[in-house]
C-alpha cells in the first residue's frame, strides 16, 4: 500500500457555493449571447422598428391639428386649448349629434352627468385617436353607428404587448433550448455537472436568459415611454405607464416559467435537429396569446380568461389594465396564480432536466424523464 494520501481541498481554493456557480453559468450565457452578431443585429432591428413606431405614432397623433369637433357650451371646460382641434360651438347635444351625422365634424364633445369624467364623446363609428390623445382623461364614448368600431389605440396596444411577448419569449426560449442541447450534443455537459450541481447549471441558464430578455424588454419599454414623452404624448405615456410596468412584472415570471420548460424540453433530445419535437408545444403556448389578443382584444370574456391563464397573463392582464377593465386586485391575484405555476414549472422542469441530461441518443419519453 502506498503511504501517500490524497490531500483534501487545499487552502488556495474554496468550493464555490450554489449561488456563485449559478452566477458563473449565467454570466457565460449572457456573455456568449452579447458577443453573437446575429443577436446584436436582430436586437438593433427590433430597437429601430420600435423607435420608428413610437415616433410615428407620436407625431401622427400630434399632427392632428384641425380635427373638426363640435362642442356644447357646457362641455367647453373639458376641451384642451391647443391647435389639435378645430372647435365648432353648438347649442346642445341634438345639434352636436346632427353635425356628427352629417359628417361636418368627426366627433362631438358634450357634457354628460352620467359619465365619470363629466363628458362624453359622440362619434359616427370611430373616435379619432388624435382626439382621445388630446384629452386629459379618457371619456366615455358614444358611437352613433357602432357596427364596426375599432379603437385604434386599443388595437395598437394589443399588438404591442402581444408582439413583444411573442418575440422575446420565442427568441430567448429558443436560445435556452439551443444552449441546453449544445451542451448535450458537444458532451461538455458531463464536465460541467462533474464540477457544479445540475440545478445550478439549470438555474444559471434560466437566470442568464431572463436577465437578457428583461433587459431587452426594459429598453423597449423605455423607448415607448421616452418616445411618447418627447413627441408630446405625455397623457398616452402616462396611460401606458402602469400597464407597461405590470407587463414587465408579468413578463419576468412568465418568462422564468417558459424558460424552465424550454430547458426541460430541450434536455430530452440530444441533437439540435430534434429540438422541434419537444419544444413545439411550448412554441404554441407562446404564440396562442399573441393571436388571441389580436383577435379578441375587445372581447372582455376572452381577455378576462387570458388574464388569469399563466401563459397568456403577461399579455392579457396589461391589456385589461390598459382598457381599464381590471379591478385593482386582479393583477395581484393573477400574479399569484402565475407565481404558483412558475414554482411548479421550475420543480417539474428541474426534474426532467436532471433525469434527461445524460441520456444521449433517442428522445427521452416525458413519463420517464419525470420519473427518473
Amino acid at each position: 500500500m502506498s503511504t501517500l494520501t490524497t490531500p483534501r481541498t487545499p487552502a488556495a481554493i474554496s468550493a464555490p457555493g450554489f449561488a456563485q456557480s449559478t452566477w458563473l453559468v449565467a454570466e457565460r450565457e449572457i456573455g456568449s449571447k452579447l458577443r453573437s452578431k446575429s443577436f446584436l443585429i436582430s436586437f438593433a432591428i427590433m430597437f429601430a422598428i420600435a423607435l420608428a413606431a413610437v415616433l410615428w405614432a407620436g407625431f401622427a397623433a400630434g399632427d392632428a391639428s384641425g380635427t373638426p369637433v363640435a362642442v356644447t357650451a357646457d362641455a367647453q371646460q373639458y376641451v384642451p386649448e391647443d391647435d389639435a382641434l378645430e372647435v365648432t360651438d353648438v347649442a346642445d347635444r341634438a345639434a352636436a349629434e346632427a353635425l356628427v351625422e352629417e359628417g361636418e365634424v368627426e366627433a362631438a364633445i358634450v357634457a354628460d352627468a352620467s359619465s365619470p369624467t363629466g363628458f362624453t364623446v359622440i362619434a359616427e363609428n370611430e373616435v379619432p385617436s388624435s382626439l382621445l390623445l388630446g384629452l386629459a382623461q379618457l371619456p366615455s364614448v358614444e358611437l352613433l353607428s357602432p357596427e364596426d368600431a375599432p379603437n385604434v389605440l386599443g388595437y395598437v396596444a394589443a399588438i404591442g404587448f402581444g408582439i413583444i411577448f411573442l418575440f422575446s419569449a420565442q427568441a430567448f426560449g429558443a436560445t435556452i433550448a439551443q444552449s441546453v442541447v449544445e451542451e448535450k450534443q458537444t458532451r461538455v455537459v458531463e464536465l460541467l455537472i462533474s464540477a457544479i450541481p445540475v440545478r445550478a447549471l439549470l438555474a444559471g441558464k434560466v437566470i442568464g436568459n431572463t436577465v437578457l430578455a428583461m433587459g431587452q424588454l426594459l429598453i423597449l419599454a423605455a423607448i415607448a415611454v421616452v418616445g411618447l414623452t418627447v413627441t408630446g404624448q405625455t397623457e398616452l405615456a402616462q396611460g401606458l405607464g402602469a400597464p407597461i410596468a405590470w407587463f414587465a412584472v408579468f413578463f419576468l415570471f412568465g418568462f422564468v416559467l417558459l424558460a424552465s420548460l424550454f430547458a426541460a424540453a430541450a434536455a430530452m433530445v440530444s441533437r439540435q435537429e430534434d429540438i422541434g419535437s419537444t419544444t413545439t408545444p411550448l412554441m404554441m403556448l407562446i404564440m396562442a396569446p399573441y393571436f388571441l389578443v389580436i383577435f379578441f382584444w375587445n372581447t372582455p370574456v376572452v381577455l378576462g380568461v387570458m388574464s388569469y391563464v399563466p401563459f397568456s397573463a403577461p399579455v392579457g392582464m396589461p391589456m385589461r389594465l390598459f382598457l381599464g377593465d381590471a379591478q385593482w386586485w386582479e393583477p395581484l391575484l393573477s400574479l399569484v396564480v402565475l407565481l404558483a405555476t412558475c414554482v411548479a414549472a421550475i420543480v417539474a422542469g428541474a426534474r426532467i432536466y436532471e433525469n434527461s441530461l445524460l441520456r444521449m441518443g433517442a428522445r427521452v419519453k416525458l413519463a420517464e424523464a419525470l420519473k427518473g
Binding site: L4, P7, L24, A195
Partner: protein
C-alpha cells in the same frame, strides 16, 4: 486513496453494476478495463457524482466523498466535448472558475497549462477552429487545470495517434508522480499494460480482478516456458510432466507441472547443446483479461 465499496446501480430493472469495489491509490496509475457495456463509464460517472448510485459508498481517505471533494476531481469523459464557440483560454478559465478558482488565479493557471501543452499560440482561437489533436490537448487541459487530486479519465487514448498516446501517457505519469490518484479506462490493453501500476477488470457489472498489475500477472501465470536452443528439442515430448504447446526445431513453448520439472528440462537442454534462451512466459494483459471475464 479513493475507495469504492459495494457500488450497485440498476437501470430500468437491469443491474448494470453489482457490488463493485476497488481502490484507486494516490501516486499510482490504475487501469480500468472491460468490454463494451461492462460498466466502466457508469462506475466513473458514479465516482464523479454525475450519476447517483443505488447502494454502496465512495470514500476518499476513509471519509465519504463530498461535493467539495469532487471539486478536486478531474474528469475526461469518454465523449469529448467543449463549447465550440468559446475561445480556448476563456473556456479553460471558465472551467477552472467552476472548480472554485478566482478569475485571476484561473487565468494564470490556464495560461501556464495551455502553454505547457503546446497551445500557447492558440489561446484566443475558438475551440472549433482547432485541429482534432489540439482539441484533445484542450480537453486534457480541461481535466487538469484545477490541479485535481483524483483524475478520472474515460478512454483517454481513444482516437489518438501513437505520438499523442505518448504525450497523454507522459502527462498521466507525471501527475501520478506528483501524488495524484489516477483511474483511466482503455480498450487498448497494450497501453494499459505498459502504463498502469494497478489493474481493475470489470465484466457484466462485476469486478473480476483487481490489484497490482505484477501481482495479477504472477497470479495468472502458469508454469509456461520458452526454450531456444541450438539442438533439436524433440526429446521434450517424452519428458514426464511436460506439455509441449509449440515446437519448431530448437524452439519450443511448453507447460511444466512443477518448478522441479522446469529445472530438470533446463539441465537437460544445457546438456544437449547450447541454450540461447530459457524464460518463463508471463501472460499478457489480453490473456489475463480473456481468462477472467469468462
Amino acid at each position: 486513496m479513493l475507495q469504492l465499496q459495494g457500488i450497485t446501480k440498476t437501470y430500468g430493472g437491469r443491474r448494470v453494476l453489482d457490488d463493485v469495489s476497488f481502490d484507486v491509490r494516490a501516486g499510482r496509475l490504475t487501469g480500468f478495463v472491460g468490454g463494451n457495456g461492462a460498466g466502466k463509464t457508469t462506475t466513473m460517472r458514479i465516482v464523479l457524482g454525475v450519476l447517483a448510485k443505488d447502494a454502496g459508498a465512495v470514500t476518499l481517505d476513509g471519509a465519504p466523498v463530498t461535493a467539495a471533494d469532487r471539486r478536486r476531481f478531474g474528469y475526461m469523459p469518454e465523449e469529448r466535448g467543449l463549447y465550440p464557440k468559446m475561445k480556448v483560454l476563456e473556456h479553460i478559465v471558465y472551467l477552472a472558475r467552476l472548480h472554485g478558482f478566482s478569475k485571476a488565479d484561473a487565468t494564470a493557471r490556464a495560461t501556464a497549462l495551455l502553454e505547457d501543452l503546446g497551445l500557447g499560440e492558440r489561446l484566443q482561437n475558438n475551440i472549433e477552429t482547432l485541429s482534432l489533436g489540439n482539441q484533445q490537448r484542450a480537453q486534457i487541459a480541461a481535466a487538469l487545470v484545477h490541479e485535481p487530486q483524483v483524475l478520472i479519465l474515460d478512454e483517454p487514448f481513444s482516437g489518438l495517434d501513437p505520438l499523442a498516446v505518448d504525450v497523454v501517457a507522459g502527462v498521466l505519469q507525471q501527475r501520478a508522480a506528483q501524488g495524484t490518484a489516477v483511474l483511466f479506462s482503455s480498450h487498448q490493453l497494450d497501453v494499459v499494460e505498459r502504463l498502469c501500476d494497478d489493474l481493475v477488470i470489470i465484466a457484466g457489472g462485476t469486478i473480476r480482478a483487481a490489484g497490482a498489475r505484477d501481482a495479477l500477472r504472477a497470479e495468472h501465470s502458469t508454469r509456461r516456458f520458452e526454450l531456444i536452443s541450438a539442438g533439436d528439442a524433440g526429446w521434450l515430448r517424452d519428458e514426464a510432466g511436460v506439455h509441449v504447446l509449440e515446437f519448431d526445431g530448437g524452439y519450443a513453448v511448453f507447460d511444466a507441472d512443477t518448478d522441479e520439472t522446469a529445472q530438470r528440462v533446463l539441465r537437460r537442454a544445457v546438456a544437449q547443446g547450447d541454450v540461447a534462451s530459457f524464460a518463463p512466459q508471463h501472460p499478457t494483459l489480453a490473456q489475463i483479461f480473456k481468462e477472467v471475464i469468462q
